[in-house]
């Protein structure tokens, strides 16, 4: 039985998500912290329910079975949902302070100008008195195509409908959007004058009701002074503060600007670090109306797609052996997918678990198991004798723990491309380098490895968000231990790769082989080998 989808928001993007889901017969519930907004005219039905003035408080459960507590006019409500789509509107802040300006009747933000232009009676509009308008955009900080579009459209209307001379002062004109270069040409033809700054900035002076802008024009090298009747200041599009609450409630990642969704290509366009929670349009970044519509469709697709695959998956899942669990809660705090729940016991939500293994590596009780990360199974893959030793040269046994999504793929590409890889290279595929613990590294060393590499994803490209960072921390600590006990710390290395880096995979592994060959065989091994089988210790010989 398919559960309803919860949509958060009341703007055009939320409406687009709802429309798409209703078309395919999905049941939806809309919760907005404000009024009905764009859902005006929608009536509650069997498939649709709208909760206004409703703010979320908490969320339990996982994909397919979310239980959300919310408050509506100080009363608590409970919402059950199979999926959640965040579609909250963004907000705008005016950039007056960037230009050293204060708002006044003739210094207005871009949104205000848009309202003035939508005025139904141009003759009575305050704009009828005006001859000269200046737009300031992207001068101190870079702008976006969304804002550039609004500036140019406003300017065009002022030129054409109001016969007002317009100036657009900017640094880099952001035309990387559909139709914006044409619009730029159109505004120029209509009479808008563009003044672009590269290294210099204009002097902007506000005295009572007059604005004076002075600058050296970069094209003509002449000094100019402009005294506009009205100055329009651009705006910065920012994330809704409500999103901060939602990231905490849902345990989802946000970017540096507070938009929900970590800046990670694997989440594009609408996914989050939690299965079953999607984020669209103005909740995930600064997007055009068209891109918001595209997001709404992708969210609908993700809801339907998840329903189709319904819990069927081949992934190895984490299992907690409760008799060993000491309730340190590392798993709960570190799971990037929030797949660990706390009831009477600590449990894994199998539907939400992505099998990255970060929990196993950090479990103090050794209570969490994932089949393919079993230490014995891994050690079984490493046998010192596997590396054939030539008479005079030393071929080091190099064990590379490789992320299945990046380094494993990169190695296969390297082989396709015909790159030579170290003879003694053993690749151990792991779901995420974050699954590698001290146990793995020391056991592999003990089992005969001369050098160990963790080959993981680049920062910001990890499917498990921070698995690569955790791996880096493990490596750093073990290297610290090596320094204390006087073991060569060069024998352990962490490097980042992407799936399409075949050439770089061969560079990294061959360079490591050189380093280890120069160090000679691991001392840990010397005493374990019978005299007649001992490998040649050709210190400095790279073979």
């Amino acid at each position: 039985m398919k559960k309803q989808t919860l949509i958060l928001g009341n703007g055009p993007c939320a409406v687009a998500v709802a429309e798409n889901l209703l078309t395919v017969g999905s049941k939806i519930i809309i919760a907005t912290k404000d009024d009905v907004g764009g859902f005006i005219g929608y009536a509650d039905s069997e498939d649709l329910q709208i909760l206004t003035e409703t703010r979320l408080v908490s969320c339990q459960g996982s994909v397919g079975n979310f239980r959300i507590e919310a408050t509506q006019n100080n009363k608590s409500v409970t919402i059950d949902a199979g999926r959640i789509i965040i579609a909250e509107e963004d907000q705008r802040t005016s950039n007056f302070s960037r230009y050293g300006l204060k708002a006044s009747s003739n210094v207005i933000p871009l949104s205000r100008m848009k309202i003035l232009l939508n005025d139904t009676s141009p003759e009575e509009s305050v704009l009828s008195e005006i001859k000269k308008v200046i737009f300031l955009t992207g001068i101190v900080k870079e702008s976006t195509p969304v804002i550039a579009n609004e500036v140019m459209e406003s300017s065009l209307l002022l030129q054409k409908e109001f016969n007002i001379q317009t100036y657009i002062l900017t640094k880099n004109l952001k035309v990387a959007g559909d139709g914006l270069e044409s619009l730029y040409r159109e505004t120029k033809n209509a009479g808008t004058i563009y003044i672009k700054f590269t290294d210099s900035l204009p002097g902007i002076y506000q005295e009572e009701d007059t604005i004076r802008i002075e600058f050296v024009d970069e094209i003509t090298s002449r000094n100019f002074r402009l005294t506009p009747d009205m100055t329009v200041v651009d705006e910065t599009i920012v994330a809704s503060p409500y999103l901060t609450d939602l990231t905490k409630i849902f345990h989802i990642e946000a970017d540096a600007d507070g938009f929900v969704q970590a800046d990670n290509v694997h989440r594009y366009p609408v996914l989050t670090n939690r299965k079953g929670i999607m984020v669209t349009g103005p909740s995930r970044g600064i997007l055009t109306d068209d891109d918001q519509r595209i997001d709404a469709e992708n969210a609908a697709l993700a809801v339907t797609g998840l329903a189709e695959e319904e819990m069927e998956t081949k992934l190895e899942k984490a299992e907690i052996h409760s008799e060993k669990c000491i309730q340190c809660l590392n798993c709960y705090h570190l799971c990037p997918h929030h797949a660990i729940t706390l009831n009477e016991r600590v449990e894994v939500e199998p539907d939400a678990c992505e099998g990255c293994g970060i929990c196993t590596a950090n479990c103090l009780g050794g209570a969490i198991r994932i089949k393919n990360l079993n230490l014995q199974a891994i050690l079984h893959q490493i046998k010192t004798g596997d590396v054939a030793q030539a008479e005079q040269t030393f071929t080091p046994l190099l064990v590379a723990f490789c992320c299945s999504r990046s380094a494993v793929q990169a190695r296969e590409l390297a082989l396709c491309m015909g790159h030579e890889l170290p003879l003694g290279l053993k690749v151990i595929q792991v779901p995420c380098a974050g699954a590698i613990s001290y146990d793995h590294i020391f056991a592999v060393l003990k089992n005969g490895a001369d050098g160990i590499m963790l080959l993981t994803c680049h920062k910001g490209n990890c499917h498990s968000e921070r698995g690569n960072i955790f791996a880096g921390q493990v490596v750093k600590l073990i290297k610290g231990i090596f320094s204390i006990i006087g073991f060569e710390k060069e024998r352990l290395s962490i490097q980042t790769l992407a799936s399409n880096m075949g050439t770089e995979f061969s560079w990294i592994t061959n360079r490591f082989e050189k380093t280890i060959a120069a160090l000679g065989p691991s001392r840990l091994m010397k005493n374990q080998w019978p005299e007649n089988q001992r490998r040649p210790n050709m210190k400095g010989n790279t073979g």
Binding site: V24, P145, V175, A176, D291, L413, M417, N500, W507
Partner: protein
């Protein structure tokens, strides 16, 4: 479920992404690709991570989509294939011609011996991804056997007997409930620009540089395979160009060029880089700090050069007008990278005829009517992440259409 069939024309980022989404919904997809390798232009793009940090170019996403597509049980791939004609009578019926693949994918082990032994440069082509299988293909335009039957070395030496030079082209008929046109873009050909592309060896395009970096990890001068000391990037070649009537920004070149420039600075720190531009476009969420760092290492010059000459020592002299002084200035470099724009692909003409839909005023193609859809850069410039989002949205529209949920106006 499972009884609906969609024909996807084009196996680049858009075609692959849409195919995977449809296939995940239980729709059967026939994916045809004109070239011998799937992945489109973008499968040749390099990872541009610097300081061990992803810069969100999206190149690895194409690799991921390709992997998902080739192993998906609901997707059937025909490489080296083109639509001959299509009739629509409720459903679509398409005649497809598949060029001879020569190398049998069942037998080929990607050992690369054919490439090593081939006496004719360019006759054996190499793929870009491990999911390009076979990783090698015979280019019948260069192969001596196809010219005059004078050489059969690859066939004779292939240890797997995977090469059949006499293999014939084949015809296929595909029935489909909807058609997706995802034939991508044409990189602007800069040969008519006064930059010497095609004449001077050390003038390359941004796409050439992408592939060079993916292949060898370094940038080298094509003339002598040595590292260049000085590189110039020239932006907006074929974009934002009123003379060509190209009234669009290609959206992706600033990101691609600046990311590659920083990658080169990291790997070959002694390289000096100059960057000629009109307006730097915002790319990615972390644009502001990225651009700030870029400006420290890269000399930004706000001008579009007039022309380029090759000097006796093969270095390149770039002439441009300094904005503030109005003087003609010169810049002498070892390698020039032209950031060529995204332009409409020639096959849009064929598609327009077959499906009776006209391109827009810029020449790109956009439709979602009567079971014919477009996705990706055939619609206009898009980055890799934008293409993936666009393709997901189109997959959703196709799904609604084949389920009879779309009301056509």
């Amino acid at each position: 479920m499972g009884d609906k069939n969609v024909l996807v024309i084009g196996g680049g980022t858009a075609g692959l992404s849409a195919a995977v989404e449809l296939a995940n919904l239980g729709v059967h997809v026939e994916l045809i690709e004109k070239s011998k390798f799937l992945g489109g232009h973008a499968i040749g793009y390099t990872c541009k991570a610097i300081e061990n940090t992803c810069v969100k170019c999206g190149a690895c996403m194409v690799e991921e989509k390709l992997q998902s597509a080739v192993f998906h049980p609901n997707i059937n791939v025909l490489a080296a294939s083109q639509v001959q004609n299509i009739s629509q009578n409720n459903r679509f019926s398409a005649n497809i011609r598949q060029e001879s693949l020569v190398i049998d994918p069942e037998k080929c082990t990607n050992c690369g011996l054919c490439l090593n032994r081939c006496p004719m440069e360019g006759a054996i082509l190499q793929g870009f991804s491990k999911n390009n299988h076979p990783f090698y293909a015979v280019n019948i335009k260069k192969c001596l056997y196809f010219k005059d039957r004078s050489c059969t070395i690859c066939r004779d030496e292939c240890p797997e007997t995977a090469i059949d030079l006499d293999k014939k082209a084949s015809e296929h008929t595909i029935e489909a409930d909807a058609v997706l046109i995802a034939i991508g873009f044409q990189p602007f050909n800069p040969k008519d620009k006064p930059y010497g592309y095609g004449r001077f060896n050390n003038v390359v395009t941004g796409l050439d540089l992408e592939r060079m970096l993916k292949q060898s990890g370094r940038v080298k001068k094509p003339s002598d395979n040595k590292l260049p000391q000085k590189i110039a990037f020239i932006q907006c070649v074929g974009s934002r160009d009123a003379k060509l009537n190209h009234l669009w920004c290609s959206k992706v070149c600033c990101g691609s060029a600046l990311r590659m420039a920083r990658l080169i600075k990291e790997r070959q720190p002694k390289t000096e880089i100059a960057f000629f531009y009109m307006d730097v476009q915002t790319f990615g969420k972390d644009f502001e700090p990225f651009y700030r760092e870029a400006q420290k290492d890269i000399r930004m010059i706000r001008a579009i050069p007039g022309d380029i000459y090759e000097m006796d020592d093969r270095r390149l002299k770039i002439n441009f007008v300094n904005n503030s002084t109005h003087e003609t200035k010169e810049e002498i470099v070892d390698l020039v990278v032209l950031s060529v724009g995204i332009t409409p692909v020639e096959d849009i003409g064929t598609m327009s005829r077959i499906f009776k839909i006209g391109p827009d005023e810029s020449g790109f193609l956009r439709t979602d009517h009567n079971g014919v859809f477009t996705a990706g850069t055939v619609q206009g410039p898009m980055s890799i992440p934008e293409t993936i989002a666009n393709s997901g949205s189109v997959a959703w529209k196709i799904k609604k259409y084949i389920d009879g949920l779309t009301i056509d106006d």
